[in-house]
Symmetry: C2
């Protein structure tokens, strides 16, 4: 009676091969998503006042993303009930241990061959390990990628011997990758690899053919200058670049250097890169009151009053229906949205206040990780 | 371009209604399953030697079930890597906190209307709460049902104000429910409810119309006599009953009383109940060595040497292809399989050694929970 052949899926295989050889590549963020992964914030030295305000900011963001994507939120056991209560019913909340809440950097990077989606499990060492990492230990974070593949029933490429965060690479889905030397050549990540070896690794894992190396990321960005805070593809051959006209701002030289590189670069298909300048907000500094809300967990304070935060409008998330952009209560908030609008004709460009996320050390793009739709 | 209407599922709704009113009922275990849930064992005062042997027994069971069902194993953060390593790749391992490992009693009870599957989230108090419960606290266990519904994207009936374990009820899927007074009328569960109120609750939640009340379960069963260790439906109108012919065994009177009740009962459709006697093994006692392998977590030992364990062949699991039956190295092991074989003509009846599970206080049925296929 039940001796029937059922098509049970073979859930998660750990793959020792590399995506490019299997015909897989990382699609551009602007192509269709199945959904998005986030991690419920909890770390008391990252998020002020026990993450109270950060959680509300996450909820606001998630409400927007969940209008057009399946959202999965990973919450620790002790936070599960609150996350479930604050989040819309259509959001899936799953229990998962974590050290902090940067899904972009600890969730899998997804690749696809157009039919199937697979994850890549990179090594994660909290943005620099014992050299200049931001916290210790990071073992819970380093286990998340594989668990998410298991959860989503996606096969998983084992790349744990290579340290990489998702926020340090952007692709156009057509063979071109953007990154920064400041991050990928840092002493705290893969110091034994040459630039050429790292290029080769990126090509075989992300399925790209050409890498555009910017020098540095946003001034005082504690991730060693992640690309996703300074420059992003909005479509193939089009990028936005964080920009200031203030020559006294240390950011000026950094952005100018990026501009020169980009304007003299072509993409994997030979097209010149068209750069759209995205204004930066006036420098944002953390207040003494905000610093007091950060618990001191490991002997040294996370931030000091007056420290400049790495605020940038480039750290947006491209959801299926919306582009969701950080806002800082700055005169340039609206200007930034207006730069982005013509670049995303099929989507509504929406700003949301994210100072409470910025204090944690990143922004909208850093706390999200898209899952491609096939 | 992406302004398209996508059929995003509305994942988990918490339902305040009751299944019967919505046309849902609990199917018989012998109907087709989508899959099966288990919880990776870890509790050091339940499972000897840090659950070493129990884990191997779980793996053996899971390998069999996963031949014909999707198996989901819930593992604590600290056990995840080992579970993933020991289990077949096709098994899905998800992180979930738990107090112990009795999926039958803490996972949702699933109901269906033939098209959709929903879960019921009962209250759980470790088999008797502060009256005669088996451990404290039990808060992690009590949160599992809802989390599994979220994980499986099933709507969830909130019945947390009613204390019930899945192992205390069996249904034929055609309106009849089997249970024991020893358990459901115990002081540690729902002492403020009358028997009639409990009957009403079972009817409206499990979609049954007739309840057959046995008096007591297996002798010295610490669950207050769960039905799933003494009597089970093998098909509508057919049950197996744990049986001994030894009049000096305290179990004799219990089984005889059950037999009399069953033989004078008819099911919801008016059919007489046909009872198939399933021999018990010779009494099984825990050894001093086994007791020494149980850590003492809360001030009193879980078991004492020479204590009789609630061994019974009735605690089998009906998977899509197999009926998987406990074996104790007893003369009756093969006899029990031969009683079951003609009752499950479409399935292979397989025995596996489960003493290492029995020591924990239950057996195969207690550590599994099926998810119906629709």
């Amino acid at each position: 009676m039940y001796d029937i052949e059922l098509d049970w899926s073979d859930n998660m295989k750990i793959l020792g091969s590399v995506p490019a050889k299997d015909g897989f590549c990382m699609p551009g963020e602007f192509t269709l998503h199945y959904g998005c992964i986030l991690i419920w914030p909890h770390r008391r030295d990252s998020w002020q006042n026990g993450a109270y305000a950060a959680r509300r900011a996450f909820v606001r963001l998630i409400e927007l993303i969940s209008m057009s994507e399946n959202v999965i939120v990973c919450a620790r056991f002790e936070d599960y009930d609150e996350a479930r209560r604050l989040l819309p019913a259509k959001v899936r909340v799953v229990e998962m241990s974590s050290d902090d809440s940067w899904a972009r950097d600890v969730a899998p990077t997804f690749v696809t061959d157009g039919r199937t989606v697979r994850g890549i499990d990179w090594g994660f060492n909290a943005w620099g390990g014992l050299v200049d990492g931001l916290y210790f230990p990071w073992d819970k974070d380093n286990k998340i990628a594989r668990k998410i593949c298991d959860l989503l029933e996606k096969d998983c490429y084992d790349q744990r011997s290579f340290i990489l965060e998702g926020g340090s690479v952007h692709t156009d889905g057509e063979g071109t990758l953007l990154t920064t030397e400041e991050c990928l050549l840092s002493d705290g990540r893969n110091p034994s690899m040459t630039k050429e070896e790292i290029e080769h690794k990126l090509c075989e894992t992300l399925g790209v053919k050409k890498i555009i190396w910017l020098k540095r990321g946003i001034y005082n960005d504690e991730t060693n200058g992640h690309i996703d805070n300074i420059c992003a593809f909005t479509s193939p051959a089009h990028v936005v670049l964080a920009w200031t006209d203030d020559k006294n701002d240390p950011q000026y030289e950094i952005s100018k250097e990026c501009l020169e590189i980009l304007e003299s670069s072509s993409d994997a298909k030979g097209r010149p890169i068209k750069v759209h300048k995205l204004p930066l907000p006036e420098p944002v500094y953390i207040t003494a009151e905000e610093c007091e809300g950060l618990d001191n967990m490991d002997g040294e304070p996370t931030r000091t009053a007056g420290e400049r935060l790495a605020a940038s409008y480039v750290n947006f998330y491209i959801s299926n229906k919306n582009v969701i952009v950080p806002q800082f209560g700055d005169n340039n908030d609206e200007k930034a949205l207006n730069v982005l609008r013509p670049l995303f004709p099929g989507r509504e460009v929406i700003g949301i206040p994210t100072r409470d996320i910025l204090i944690g050390g990143g922004n909208i793009h850093c706390i999200t990780q898209q899952i491609p739709q096939t």
